[in-house]
Each structure stands twice: as C-alpha cells, then as structure tokens.
C-alpha cells in the first residue's frame, strides 16, 4: 500500500493511494499562492499598476501542484472532500488522460462549480493585453526580481482553465451521500462521512474486508452551519491520513469573529467603509449570521452590506436549499418553514444586497459608508481590486482579511503605500491541534500519516510544542513528491466457499475449539472476489474421442496424502529412538528447533517448527523407519 504525495500544501492536499489494485486520488486542491507573484488584474486599466517600475502586467496564472511522480491516467477514482479541494479538477480530468470517476457530495459539486465559475469569470472578463511564457525559462527566470526568481517549478504553472473544461470536468463527477457505500471494482469500498467543515464536506473511509484507511481532510468540531463531524466511523482505522488542519492554529475563530465585528463597527461608526475580501461561500455565511445578530446591538442597522460576486446570488440561494447537509438547528428551521440561514432576512429587509459585479445596478445603489464582501481573497483579481484602488487612500476605510489562505502582507504588497487600515482576522474553523489530539485519542488509529508541517511547530513559533501533532506511535510525515509505503501489510483476503462445497467438508477437532478440514476446490477469482467452488468430478474414462473439455485442463486430483499436525517432543523422540535400537544419539539445539544426530548411522534429523528433515545417506530403509517413528508423534487427518 503506497501513498503518492503530489501536493506540499497541507490544506490543499492531493494524494494518490494505491490500495489493493485500485488507485485512488484523494482531493486535488489548487494552490493559488503563486498568483501573489503577479500584479492585480484591474477591471479598469490602472495607470498606477501598469506604471510600476520593473513589472509587467501578466494574466493570473495558477500553480498546479503536480509532478511526474505517477501517471495520472492510471487513477481509477478521485475522492473530493470539500469544494476548496477540487479546484484543480479540470487540469486532471481534461489534460492527463484520466478516464475514471470522481466522487463528491452534491453541495461540494454545486459550490465547487460556483467557485470555479467565479475564478474563470474573474480571469476571463479582464482583457489580456499581453501573454508571455518565455520568462518561465529557467535562464530568464533567474534574471527576474525577487521573489519571482526564487519561485520553484514555474514551468508547472498553468493558465486558468475555461468554462468548457470546468463543465466537462464536473460531468465526470458522481454524486454521493454521507455514509453511502461505494464499491470500487469489488476490491475496496469507499464511504464519505460528514466532516463538519463546509456544506457537504466529507472525510472518506477506504476499506477492504480486513483493512481500513481513513482520510481526514478539512474537518471541524465547531458548531457552525454544516452537519457535525462524524467521528465514530473513523474508529478502528489501520491508517488515518490527516490533512487540512487549521492554517492559523493560534487564532481561535470565536475571538476572530469578535475582532471582525468590533473593527467593522468602529470603522463604520467613523464614516469609513469596510472591505472584506472573501470566497463566495463558506465562512461568509457564518459572518453574515454573526452580523445579523450584531448590527442591531451595534447600531449599524442603517449600514448597507454588499456582496459582490458573479455567483453571489447562486451562493446565497444554494445555501438555503441544502437543508439535509446542515447542522441540526438549521435543519429544524426548514420544517417551520423558515430559511435556515438568516441572510434571507437581511436580503428581505434590504440590509444585504448582492450583485454579480460592480457594473450595472450596483453603481446605482452604491451608498457609503458600507461593508463590501467580494473576491478574490488574493487581491489579484475580481472586484476586490477595484475597491482596493478606490478606498485604499483613505485612513477611514478598513480592509478586514478573514480568509486564511493568503498572506495578507503579500496580498497588499502591490497596493502600497496604503492609507486604509488593515485588519487580519483569519477565521479558520478547521481542527486545531488540541482537537486533533482529542480526536486521535478517541478514534485510536494504528498509524497516522500527515504532512510534515504538522509534525513540528510552525517555523515562526518554534517554541510552541503544542502546535504539532502529538500521538503514539509518532505520525508518519510526507512531503511533496514523496512516495510513502504505508506501514502495514495485508495479511488476509476474504474467500467465499460455495454452499455445496461447504456441505461436503468434515471438520475434525484437533484441539478443543479448533477444527480442521481439508478442502479441495477450484479458486475462482473475478472482480476481486474470490470463491471456492467444488472441484469438477474426475472425468469418466471414455474410450471414444471426445472434444476436449475445459475441465481437462485441471490436473487430475491425486490421492491426497494425509496432512500432519502436532509437534515432536524431542526427549520422548530420543527415548523412542533408543528403544528402537539407535544408540549414540546427540541432540543439538538450533535457532529454529533441534538436530538429532545419529552418529552411528551418520544420519541427521532436523526438527523445526514447521518441517522435519531426515538426512541420511542413500539408506531408504533407514529413512522410512525414521520417518515412521517421527509420524508416530504427529496427528494425521
């Protein structure tokens, strides 16, 4: 059993598991941090950005974190754990010869589609002035300014996919529900479990009859909107692959939400605007819910909230229809019937307005001071670029970063000098190390496999020994482009016996509680299922020439020698030998058993746990005598 690690990003994993003749890809996250090396794509040509010295405007590329470690066309299935971890899907399904199936839950697919749609829209709607790729040549890249010249594997950076590719990729997805058991070629069974992190987010169990591998990716134990995490089903795993822990282990989401609200209120009260760069789904639902409760108490009822994204409307509406994927509280609301999320009320009362872009209706309705939620959190493309340019000059305004995926300082770099206040409140609800340690104690996997980043404290806080996985035995770590042999051997395989064959067996009790029977059968293997069938009857001797039958291929069953069992007590054996006239017997102990040396007869009897050898020099009579003496000590059946 092997694990091929294709991504070095612990929260955007991409691993391939080879397990019992199946090749399963676990997630295909897209690490977009490389976009930070590019200039923002403004909706309106920005003289400031295009005149920055030594920089040239490039389109937003994405870093596809793959290597030639494995031929991706051999991947049988891809299991997706949440919508953030499927963003590289088109690159795999459309460009690698992949012919398998992708499994994901319905909300994952729908919201994943929205995220991809938004990404494609953000990139495609900006006219590309130039396109260049020569710079990716290593010799030229060396000459580029830092940090671009230090970027690794720029040759693997790809242009953003198109909407056709997205649609084609999504068409390969088969929808699954929590706890649904999916057979892969009869060899393994995969099951998605609720992971509590996002709408439809899942952990996966990959198991055969005797082995169980759990894949935990992006899970949360906090009470937010999704269904709570199913921990119990992770018990008794041989291997637990652990990815997608919180990226900001020192920030408690509750504290951050408080910080977010306080800063928002302070800014708005002073007449400033608040910009929240965010993804169109996920934490934004929780933020809107918090604000719903907070705005009245903070006297912000008259402040408009704008949510701008090409998929804003779909995102807000989708969230309301996936009731079965929501936490219990929200599910019960549906029966009242009420919308599960309170943002419906915000929209109804005109406190929250959503627009596909800054053009059109938005420009008519726009009123300041206000709060704007928009993408992309990298600040390199999307409507957020426009607001950064618009509001960056005033110290009254504030940009509040809530998505933890990008370094906010790097994201802000091209906008410097910046007068607006910047607040960093990363809200990451995924498991922290305390929760992980509790989880591992609870589910007790035999082995834990995780990215190497989790096995040591973060580099910036090397003294925080609490910010790493602490389990026994120590977790196995992997890094990008590594192949890991998972530390357990498959020992058993399940074989079925046909009823008529089972009927014919006559077990014999060899010691209390243990019965044995010999089986003569034909092993039939198809679709990774093994069945013992009764052997064909011996062919009737026929005089005439007949057509050769298939069963003739099977060699005739010879008369079977009895099987032996039991052990030979050396002392008694020696006594027996002496009784039978052998003398001058020496016994030597060896590592595996004993050697009985009949010096006179120049014969050795090697007695080991599972074999006995009589070595004598061409004296068949003697050998048979000795053999019979040995057999006296063993049971036959």
């Amino acid at each position: 059993m092997k694990l091929y690690c294709l991504s070095g990003h612990p929260t955007l994993p991409c691993n391939v598991l080879k397990f019992k003749s199946t090749t399963v890809m676990l997630d295909c996250g897209l690490d977009m941090t490389s976009t930070l090396n590019f200039l923002p794509l403004p909706l309106v040509q920005s003289p400031r950005l295009s005149n920055l010295p030594g920089w040239s405007l490039k389109d937003g590329n994405a870093f596809l974190d793959k290597t030639e470690l494995i031929d991706l066309s051999t991947v049988d299935v891809i299991l997706i754990s949440n919508y953030h971890c499927m963003m590289a899907l088109p690159y795999i399904t459309e460009h690698t010869g992949f012919t398998g199936t992708v499994y994901a839950t319905e909300p994952t697919v729908q919201i994943g589609r929205l995220l991809m749609e938004e990404l494609v829209n953000f990139i495609e709607r900006v006219p590309k002035a130039q396109s260049a790729s020569l710079w990716k040549n290593k010799d030229i890249q060396r000459l580029l300014p830092s940090p671009l010249k230090d970027a690794v594997e720029v040759s693997t950076w790809r242009r953003c996919y198109t909407m056709q590719e997205v649609n084609s990729a999504l068409s390969k997805i088969q929808l699954v529900g929590y706890s649904q058991k999916i057979e892969l070629f009869g060899a393994v069974q995969v099951t998605p479990l609720s992971s509590g992190y996002a709408l439809g987010s899942s952990n996966w169990i990959i198991q055969s009859h005797y082995e169980k591998v759990s894949y935990v990716s992006g899970s949360s134990l906090l009470t937010t909107h999704p269904q709570p995490m199913d921990q119990a089903s992770l018990k008794n795993s041989d291997v637990l692959i652990l990815t997608g822990l919180t990226q900001i282990p020192t920030a408690n989401p509750d504290g951050m939400v408080g910080e977010f609200c306080s800063n928002l209120a302070l800014t708005v009260r002073n007449g400033g605007n608040v910009l929240v760069p965010c993804y169109p789904s996920g934490v934004i639902y929780d933020l809107l819910e918090c604000l719903y409760q907070y705005i009245d108490s903070a006297g912000l009822s008259s402040i408009p909230f704008y949510f701008i994204s090409p998929v804003a409307n779909s995102s807000l509406e989708f969230s309301q229809i996936f009731a079965e994927w929501l936490c219990h509280n929200k599910q019960t609301k549906v029966y009242l019937p009420e919308p599960p999320f309170p943002h419906a009320e915000l929209i109804q009362t005109n406190k929250l307005k959503h627009y596909p872009s800054i053009h059109g209706d938005f420009s008519n309705d726009f009123r300041q001071p206000c709060v704007v939620f928009t993408g992309h959190p990298s600040l390199r493309f999307g409507d957020v670029v426009h607001f950064m340019e618009l509001w960056g000059k005033s110290s009254l305004n504030t940009v509040i970063f809530t998505e933890p995926d990008f370094s906010y300082l790097e994201a802000l770099a091209p906008y410097q000098p910046l007068a607006m206040k910047c607040i960093y409140c990363p809200i990451d609800t995924r498991l922290n190390f305390i929760q992980v340690s509790k989880l591992l104690k609870e589910v007790q996997p035999l082995h834990v496999v995780c990215p190497e980043q989790y096995t040591q404290p973060p580099p910036a806080q090397s003294h925080r020994m609490d910010l790493m996985i602490d389990c026994q035995p120590p977790a196995m770590s992997y890094r990008r482009a590594e192949v890991l042999a998972l530390p357990f051997k498959r020992r058993y395989e399940k074989i079925e016996i046909m009823p008529e064959l089972a009927d014919s067996l006559v077990p014999m009790e060899i010691k209390p509680g243990v019965s044995l029977a010999t089986v003569s059968a034909v092993l039939h293997t198809k679709d990774n299922k093994h069945v013992l069938q009764p052997p064909p009857r011996p062919a009737q001797p026929t005089g005439g020439k007949k057509r050769k039958r298939a069963s003739d291929d099977i060699p005739d069953c010879k008369v079977l020698k009895p099987l032996l069992s039991g052990s030979i007590p050396v002392d008694q054996f020696v006594q027996t030998l002496e009784k039978h006239g052998f003398s001058d017997i020496k016994v030597e102990d060896t590592a595996k058993g004993h050697i009985v040396l009949l010096q006179e007869a120049e014969t050795l009897i090697q007695i080991e746990e599972d074999s006995t050898h009589i070595i004598c020099d061409n004296d068949e009579m003697l050998r048979v005598r000795l053999r019979d003496l040995v057999l006296k000590f063993l049971q036959k059946f």
Partner: protein
Amino acid sequence: MDPECSRLLPALCAVLADPRQPVADDTCLEKLLDWFTTVTAAGSSLLLLQENPCLVELLFRVLKSQDLSSRILSFSLRLAGIFAAQEDCFQYLQGELLPMLFGEVGPLGGAAWTAPAVRSGWIQGLRTLAQHPSALRFLAACGAVDTIFSLQGDSSLFVASAAGQLLVHILDLAMRGPARGRCSPQACDWPACAQKIVCHIEDSLCSIATPQVTQALNVLTTVFGHCRGLWTQGLWVRLSPLVARLLEKDPVPASHSLVDLLLSVARSSVPSSDRGLWETLAQTLSHLSPTQAGPLALGILKLQDCPQALRTQAFGILLQPLACVLEAAAQAPGPPGLLGGAAGDPMTADTLLCSKSACVGLLCCALTHLGLLQPLPQRPSPWPQAPLLGAAVTVLRLCSGSVAPTSDVGGRLCAILVGCGRVQRAALDFLGALSQGAGPQESVTQVFSVLLEYLMSPESSSMVLKKAFQATLRWLLSSPKTPGCCDLDPRTQLFLRELLPVLQKRLCSPCWEVRDSGLEFLTQMTRHCGGQAGFRQALLASEVPELTKQLLQDPESYVRASAVTATGQLSSWALLAAPASPERPGAQQKSLLVELLHVLCADSEGFPRRAVMQVFTEWLRDGHADVAEDPERFVARVLQAASRDPDWEVRAQGLELALVFLGQLLGPRGSHCPCAVALPETAPPGTLAQALPEAAPPGTLAQALQVLCRVQLFEFAFRALFDCDRPVAQKSCDLLLFLRAKAAPCGSPQEAGDSPNVASVEATLQRWQAGEQGQPLGYLEPGAVMAVLRSIDLEGLRDTLAESSDHVEKSPQSLLQDMLAAVGVLGENEADCY
C-alpha cells in the same frame, strides 16, 4: 410558658406521638425545638415538665411506638437533650427515660437507627444534654462514647461530622472540671472519659486506614480551634509525637486535615508552651508535596509570631512554583535564586510538568496565596516585588504563547499553559495585587506591555479581559504622579494613549460581558483620574466618550446600566463629547440629562433605571453643572419619574436623592438649626443652597418647605411611606422624621390648624395606607404638610416597619396552632376520601 400554649401542648403532644397523624413540615419541629430552648433558657426545665406532664408522656410514647416516623424520634431525642441540660431535670429523667432514649435499649439497637435523622438526633440530644458532670457519668454508664466513636465513620457526612464535634464537646466538658490547670502529658489524673477519648484518638492516629487518621485529625483540629483550656497544651505534648510520625509515611496520609490541625494548633495557645511545634511545622513543610504544602505555608505566614526561619521556609514554598517558571523561561541561565533565595525545586518542577491539571492547580494556588499575602502587614520582608512582577508577567506571557523559552522545561511549560484561562485569571489578579508595591521602572514597563497585550488579544476570553481591565485599573491608579504636579507621569500617559484605542474596540465587542467590563473600567478610571489633564486630554482625543454614549442604546440591560454610570461619570468631569456649537456650551450635556431621564422613564429593565437614579443622586450631591442650573426642576422631574417606577430599588434611590436635596436645603443630618446651615456662606461649596432662587432669601424654613412642596417631594415621600416594599417605607419614614426634626425648633404650632386642607390630606393618606393609591394629593401648603407630619405617628410606624414581616406569625402560640391545624386539615382530607 404562657397559659394558652400550656393549654395547646397536650393536644400537640398527642398528635406528635400518633403515627397516624404525620407532621408534614420539618421546619415546624425545628421551630418547636427553638421555642423549647428559649423556654428552658428562661426558666426551670424541671418545673416545665412537672407543669406539663404531657411532655414526658410524649417521650415515653415515642419510645413505645413501633411505627413512628424517624423525624419524630429524632425530635424527641433532641427535646430530651434540651430538658436534661439542666442538672435537676437530668436527675428527674435519668431514672428511666434517658437510658431508654440514649442507651442500648433505645433506638440505638432498633430498626430506626438506620435513618440518618435518628442518628443525628441522638448525637444532637447528647450534645445538648452534656452540660454537667452527671451527664458525663451517664455517658460513661450507657456506653455512649463507644457509639460516638463508631459514628465518626458514619455514611452520612452530617452525622459523622456531628459525632466528631460531640467528642470534642465531651472532652472539653470532662477536662473543664474545677481546678484543672495544665495537665501532665502522662495524664494519669485525667478523667476516665477524657482518657478514653484521647486513647481512641491515639489509636486512630496510629491506624493504617487514612479515614481513621482523618477523623482523629479533624477532632483534634476542632479541639485546638475551640477549646481554650490549658489542658490542650498537655494534650498536644502527648499527641504531637504521633502526629509527627504521620510525616514519616509516604505519601503523608490525610494531608489536608494534617495541615488544618497544625495551623489550628499554631493559632492556639500551644506555641507559647511548646517550641517543638515549629519544628513539626518545618518538617511538615518539607515532607508534603508542593501542592499540599501551599496552604500550610500561607497559614504559617499569616501567623502573628513565629520563628523567622520557619517563615523563610514557608515563603520559599510559596515562591517555588514561580521560581521554577522564571527559571524555565529565562533566556539565559540567570543568577540562582531569582526569588529571594528560592531556587526552582526539582520536586516543584516535576509537579509543574507532570500533568496539565497539576501544573494549573499548583500555579493558581501559588498565585492566589501570594496575592492574599501581599496586602498583609505581616507579609515577609523583604518582599521580592521585582522578581514577583517578573514571574507574573512571565506566567501571563507563557499563557499567551508570546514568550519563546529556549529550555526544554520552558517549552513543555509553554505547551501546558498556553491558552489556559484559569492561570491567566489568577495571574492577572496577582498582578493587580502587586500594584500596591513599587517596582523597578523596567518591570513596570513590562507589566503595562503584558496588560496591553491581553487587552488587545482577540484570544482573551471575556473573564480574562475583565481581570485584565481590573489589573490595569489598579496599576494605573497606583502609578506615581509626576513630582510637583498631580498629573499622570509620562509613561502612564503613553500607556493611556495606547490603551484607549483598545478600549474603543472592546466597547464595540459583540460579547456584552466585554462591553460591560470596558465600561466599568472607564467609569472607575474617570472617577479617579477625571481631573488629571493627561487623562482628560487622551480621553477627549479618542472616540471613547462618543461610543460610551451610544451604548446607552445597547440591547443588553447590564451594558445600558454600565453605560449610564459611565456617561454620568464622564459628564460629571465634563468629559463627554465637546459641545455641539460654541454658542451653546453644554448643549450636549443637557441632552445627556434628557437622555438619562428618558432611560428612567422608558427603559424596560430595572438595572439601567437604578443606574440613572444613582447618577442623578451623585450629580445632585456634587453640584453637577446641569443640575445646578435649576435644581428644583431637576428634582421635581426625577421624583415624578421615580414615583411611578415598578422597581422598589429605584423608588428607594429616589428617597435617597430626596434626602440629599433636603440636606442641601436644610443642612445635613445632625445639625439642628437649618436656618444657620442654609446660609450661603456656611453651606458646603457647590451645594444647592447657593442655587436657591434670589427672590427667596435663603435661611428660612418656610422657603425651604415651599421648595419641597413645589417639587412635590411630600407627595413622593408620603406615597413611599405606604409602599408595599418595606425598605422603601422605612427610608421614607426616616426622611420624614429627619424633616420633622429639622422643622420642629423653627416651626410654629399655630400653623397646624385644623384647616380643611389638612383633613383632606389625612383622609387621602388613610386611603393610601389602605392600599388605594390612585388619588393624588394635589398641591400641598407647607403649613398643611407640617401639620400632617406632626399628626402621623412616624415613630410608631418606624417601629412597626422594623419588625420583620412575620413577627405576628412567629409567636409560639401561632406555631402550635398552625401545627394542630395542619393535622386537622389532614384529617378532613382523609374523611373526604371515604
């Protein structure tokens, strides 16, 4: 006993002894016992029994009855104890009844004994009974002491504890005999009873079973805590070797009880005679684990006189956990003994690192103990202020993860402590306590920076933030003033400038507890520093005052109340937002008065309204500028709003405000002639006496009364006099008495005519008293008021109000009647069933 009770008693005794008529209410029996205690304390029990033979009969019947409830049996045992407490009555009962009640033939051997209430009653009966030497002989004869020994391990904690106390009582009684001085430890001359108890204690101390050792230690703790006789010294000399031997065991058994005992002995008169005690204490300190030794060390340091060496040892123990922390977090190996010679002890370090709960427990105890010690006069000297500050700061930094220890121990400690709210709260409390002492400049800078870190951190929970605010306040208030002027020193000012934006953010927190603590901090800070230029400047430059005002509309009532107090305080110091326009100075402040009046009239919750009344009272008392403009109108409006308030505390506070107003008009309580006091030149500066209208020359009672009538203070006070809430009525009564006392020397009797006005007022008041408060009094003439005041029996009313509300129902007669009636009612119900 009054005859009526005597008459009811036989019936009651019959009911009590009748198993078919169960007494439903336990409290009745308790009240009955209380009553008998009072009756026997006032007279002879023997006489009581002779006059009321039903009582003895009751006791006999209880003994004979098989199916009586355990509570009646328990009651009877206690009752018998009360009677037998007098020696002559004891003799009277001793022949038959007492052995049957308390001896082996009584409940002791029966099925009833399984009820804890009966065992408890048996013990309490004996406890009351054991008051005289005859009782001791009785106890010895009936073998009660052995039973008490066994009850020490009773399954009911109440019984077990009472048994221990009874033993102490018997021991004390036995040893208290006449002419007993200090006994020799050998104690061959000790009374047999005492001898027996002491031997039992000795046996228990030697036992290998910890519960027995605990029982013995608890009994001894009570002995040394409560018995003052010289014999206790002899007892200690005799038992101390056994106690010391406990220390040889590992682990030390019953360490908590041992610590209690040693401290109890150390506080008694023993130390003056036995210097060995200090040695035992020193040994105990070194034998106990760091967690167990903490409370002992604190107790030792609180003792008034004990050897310096022991104090040093005890202090060392309290300091050790912090010394370990300092050592572990030190960037480079520092000088040994960072904390006054207390180096990090390996055992303490082990405890700190062995588990999270042990570490948190030990650190919290150490911090709390040191915090308690800090303000005491007998605290160790020299007090290591600077290292303690360093330790508190380090603990807080370890908890926030902002310190990067290089040592392995430091790393593990950091992993244990990071994010631990309990330690954070204890450390912040301790840091606050340390503000009372000075510290080196560098340490104080660190303190301010760690406090700021906590106040800023989004990770701080609301409780931690509250503590951080409290500690910050204490440090700010204790910070040194710039020499030569009363302003804050530059460092504090710098800190304030950083603090205010944080406070501003906290006032916007979505968590109401945080907003509330922020406002409380602001109120306190303003109260103490409102006059200091540095503070005023920083505050006015920030948005804090404006935000505070906005919080008057907070959805949470506690926050609104705190916001009311805070804005009131800010306004008192003219620190609320600057006037809206230069032409109308004070326009904003006026609007605050209107706003607060609105809160008083319209807020649905009591807390904000109470806060408004307090602010208004304070404003009136301090001569707030807005109030001083037209105090009459102000008082009239406030009293009008308060009189309608459904919350009695608001109405009571209204009377407080009225009292302040009266004081300002007529002079404070205690001075007799208002005419003199109310003169402008003698009135306290800033009081309203100065603000009386020009037209009415101050100094005459009549004018003052006119003012009071105009603000309708009398209507308010008279209504309050008949308020359904007693504290309001009491307060109003006091106010009117004060007014009458002030007015009496100056008043002229001829004012009190029988004018129709007075009659109508009296009639209205009578209706009010009867509960019909709808009708207003209308405008009152001062003369009529004075007449009414003189006609009401205010003293009588005060006395009535001083009685508790159940004084009528509390009489023994009513108790007996109630009990009988309750049984009667039960009987009727039974009849209905058929």
